[in-house]
Subunit: 346 residues, 2 copies
Amino acid sequence: MELNERKLKILEAIISNYLDTAEPVGSRTISKNYDLGISPATIRNEMSDLEELGFIMQPHTSAGRIPSDKGYRLYVDMILSAKYDSPKHLSYVEALLNKAGRIETLLQDIVSVLAKETNLTAIVSTPQYSKCKIKNIQLIELESQKVLAVIVTDGNMANNYVLEINEDMDQRMLNKLSFILNNQLHGLNVEEINLPLIEKIKAFAGNQDEIIGKVLEVVFQAVHNNEDTEIYTSGAINMLRLPEFSDLEKATSIMETLDKKDYIRQLLLNDFDGESIETDGVKIKIGSENNNEDMKDCSLITTTYHIGGKPLGVIGLIGPKRMDYQSAILSLRCLIKEIEKRMNDS
Amino acid sequence: MELNERKLKILEAIISNYLDTAEPVGSRTISKNYDLGISPATIRNEMSDLEELGFIMQPHTSAGRIPSDKGYRLYVDMILSAKYDSPKHLSYVEALLNKAGRIETLLQDIVSVLAKETNLTAIVSTPQYSKCKIKNIQLIELESQKVLAVIVTDGNMANNYVLEINEDMDQRMLNKLSFILNNQLHGLNVEEINLPLIEKIKAFAGNQDEIIGKVLEVVFQAVHNNEDTEIYTSGAINMLRLPEFSDLEKATSIMETLDKKDYIRQLLLNDFDGESIETDGVKIKIGSENNNEDMKDCSLITTTYHIGGKPLGVIGLIGPKRMDYQSAILSLRCLIKEIEKRMNDS
DNA sequence: GTTAGCACTCATTTGTGTGGAGTGCTAACA
DNA sequence: TGTTAGCACTCCACACAAATGAGTGCTAAC
């Protein structure tokens, strides 16, 4: 048995209706609301076939049908392969992007706006530190035996570290050290810093090598720490208002999952292999495709953003499987365009 | 009718039992579980009096009694005026505090640990920027016409700002400007920066006054922005597991409230007048005392932390009215001691 | 002043019946 | 051979009634 055009139309009708109502869809509903020119009985026969093919299922006998993950997958693939429609212009995002500021703040703002617009949960990972280019390092005097190291990378991401050293240093001396550090490190990828390089730089610094060592150590730690990317989340609350989580048990469970930064990080960066050329970079994982019990009623839409041509971070949306994929994908696609336009000319 | 000792004991029994079970407490329960040596009938008479006095109430006829806000107030005041018991040592906090780092990260970590320990929602406001002393200002070259200003204040709080200027400057020049800025601003309160001062500094800077003006402008904006303090929250999810929020409607509502940073900020800083000498600085607002519908089933415990003798921020716990005040207060008191010990010798 | 006894109240639980939405099957029809 | 009307059947959802039980207030006796 194959999936002919009529079956496909019925499947689309079922999914479309289910996205709206969150209720199982019956044959009569389709016959009435979708102009397919066939009777409920015929539709029932087709539905029976669609169920056998695995695209829809019945919560219980004598209920309507709901899409299965396989059904959603077909539907989503059709959307993904379709042409863009009316790329909407996100004026508020542009406003955000034009505000000079730190990339962390920017990403937090973006995620917050995205969550509000889509009524979904928006998540983003900050650029992977280890893959960023070093732009500038400055040491700043704090107090006796304490120094602040500010490391600026691509996209004007600034990381601050407090270093404890065994010597007092004034700002003039620190400026000198900063100069040496910059000479040696400017333009390098963070992960390119290695032991020979460190020795070489220490030699330059002469007897001030302790603080130089500390700085490099901090950079090292950040790189080898698998949390070299932060996760920002917004709009988890939106899940609470959905009928799929009207059971408190489920609601609590999904909120807990969304609260686990480590889990979300892993989810986002999971198969972030750095070369996702797929349909405009938008990836979708539906329900059980996420390989996680708590996410089995949710879908994840992700896309990567690039700086200087390199994919550095991921922006995504988490929503119920029953979410409006069309508009979510569109939002994400347009957003990413605006972001990349901005980041790559800055 | 006055509140004699026996009535007080019964009230305590009711509250204590209610804290445990979240169920209305009946006369028989008290008679059985608390060794007061009187029969349920007698207890019923006393309860009737306690209700008349406003300390307890009945959800409906033929139900047991639950404490009223007035009852909780009495109970909490007794705890507050009691002596410390066994000030527990918070080894994990000490570990956090010994880790050199930015104060923002530190506060985020503390709030997260506090929430985990108490199973409540922990909140903290960062030091009020306007009341902080400036320690160091450094300008860092980013790219053509863009400069990063790092402003370090008390407690090693570092704020980064991206400035756009109309001129290219190299790091050497920026170091010079930083030197001038530091000479003029070091040791001042952020809010002490005023127009005459700005003019004076501009004169020093000569033809480089644009960037100097920008920096001062940014500081100004931060001060006059009433959001010159950030709010960090952790553990809101803990509320979802409580029986008082087993109704999804209520659960959603409290989660939404806790998600509103502006509201929480206002709640925290509400009567933060800078001179709370009350019982070790711990303030408690019970239910309707918070003057907010969404908080009527919650209590808020707050305490301020000081840097250099000045109260700069607030740490607090939000939980159900039925929370374990004793242990929450203790946690907060011990925490604040550790924090102040650390911040004031740094 | 305290307590046992008792009638009364009311939320909660349990059981039962009904309505309705939807299906699958069969037989008739184009 | 594909489509459709008709019909029996299933099962959830909801409403309603009855039973349960925790707890009270009152009264009368101690």
